[in-house]
Symmetry: C3
Subunit: 216 residues, 3 copies
């Protein structure tokens, strides 16, 4: 129980600062995942490389938004939710961005040009998860539509389970059918970054569920 | 310094909610580790697979208990210990379960049928560590037997050190004597999940030590 | 907003306990990184092994300092900064030590005797980062020289970016030019521990930046 939770009953919440920043951060990861899906579905390697560079720039933009949230957190005595939840949510969204960029970066640096079916599927799942992440974050502002937030969180959990399953099977298949150990390692690293991006969406969903419970 | 720590002097602690949940969670990882040790010592592959599936179900059960603790944490104004310690302890026990299940899952998915001596030894150490974890969690309830909790924590730390040593040596030996790179990767992944399970027991022990100091 | 932040206006800060411990911890990682740089630049394998053993001992010493900080945190009602920042800073410095020791341990255990250029460069960057870490930690005591702390944090961030870049390129080069998969794995593990050491310095810098903002 923080002082916030007491103060919030008689001090107006200064939500104007945090919500737009969270929406920008969520919006940014949606753009990143959209560009990622476009890139992995493109067979033109030059186009794909161009898109990967866009992801890189978007990740830097995301870093600045996260940094801004941390700065505001330090400056603001009163926060709309518990400070640790604001920090954890910003940090989870940042981790989503890092892992989207990380997967693109590995495809590029390791010169993995023939992308596998599990990589495409996982990229789709990442996009699904961040779409729900953005929806839920938009609703956090007034907490009127609690049902919508909870539903998005449930869908993110389900997407993360699917991503886990696809990752585990893909790695098992690499071990069973791919004899080139270096290719196994490279593919495993790329799949792992994609799967971790959905894990980080789940982390963000867990924070939002905890905010819902505290503010019910 | 949270408000809890002040309130606890004049508000009765509502411990009835959290302790049984923690005991269930601890009990569940003891069952998981017991089944794991049975599985890795079984030479009948069908039996082993059956036991691995039991571990899977137990992990889901553990997830539900963890989720329940988080829900109660959101709902309860007064907690027996600092909120962050309750969260950290629940999360550490959940990570133990995840890594036991992860190691079993990898043995199964990667079709590693000939288990190595370090895998058996690490499984034994995981069981030793969770046995002490359960003992310590049982004693948290009334904090009468502080010595017993501290002793369990010390034994968990010692088990984690042994696991570290076995893991490091096993990986070094794989690099020195195993020429099949794919086998090295598969074995390393399994050993790593087992070793991480003991790390997570140590995390739980660290939380309990910090609870002891605060409530001394 | 913790109670600390209110109490600090009328209760004398008991800083005498925490600052010397943090300085000892920072000093210890500087010694570790100095010995690491000496070791990786030595071509005499016996000397190098001797230096690696020194790193091992220093890591144990660091563990004790961290443990001491946690104990004091449990015992002290009033802390100079928010409790979570003290915990996070101690834990980040401990993670720096773990990863320096981890990289040395892997070079030794995996019998990687010919160290690569990126390993030497990353070791240098680790030393640069911990030097700034120590500088910043020394200045935390009175917060008079806020500019110096902020500058150290900025330099740590820049070093971490350079380390990221060197790590990514080194792993990409291993995949492109090294055909021995086992050697790729071993080198990647060593490079990864070195790069993670700079990540952990950045974590520590983030905590210090947050302390600056709160106490501005």
């Amino acid at each position: 129980m923080s002082l916030n939770s007491i103060f919030q009953y008689f001090v107006p919440k200064d939500q104007k600062i945090f919500f737009p920043l969270f929406e920008q951060a969520a919006n940014n990861v949606v753009t990143m995942a959209t560009v990622l899906v476009e890139a992995v579905n493109s067979n033109n390697l030059a186009t794909r490389e161009e898109l990967f560079k866009q992801i890189d720039k978007l990740e830097h933009k995301g870093d600045e938004i996260t940094h801004q949230i941390y700065l505001e957190l330090g400056k603001n005595f009163i926060t709309p939710f518990d400070r640790e939840d604001i920090h954890a949510l910003a940090s989870a969204v940042d981790d989503v961005a890092d892992n989207i960029q990380g997967s693109a970066n590995r495809m590029l640096l390791y010169r993995v040009e023939e992308l596998s079916d599990p990589m495409l599927k996982l990229s789709d799942l990442v996009l699904q998860a961040v779409n729900d992440l953005e929806k839920a974050i938009r609703e956090l502002k007034d907490l009127k539509n609690v049902r919508a937030i909870a539903d998005s969180c449930i869908r993110i959990n389900s997407v993360e389970n699917q991503a886990d399953y696809i990752f585990d099977r893909a790695v098992a298949d690499l071990f069973l059918y791919e004899k080139d150990a270096l290719k196994v390692i490279k593919h495993k690293e790329i799949l792992s970054a994609l799967e971790t991006a959905t894990d980080m969406c789940e982390d963000a969903a867990n924070v939002m569920e905890s905010i819902l419970v505290k503010n019910a």
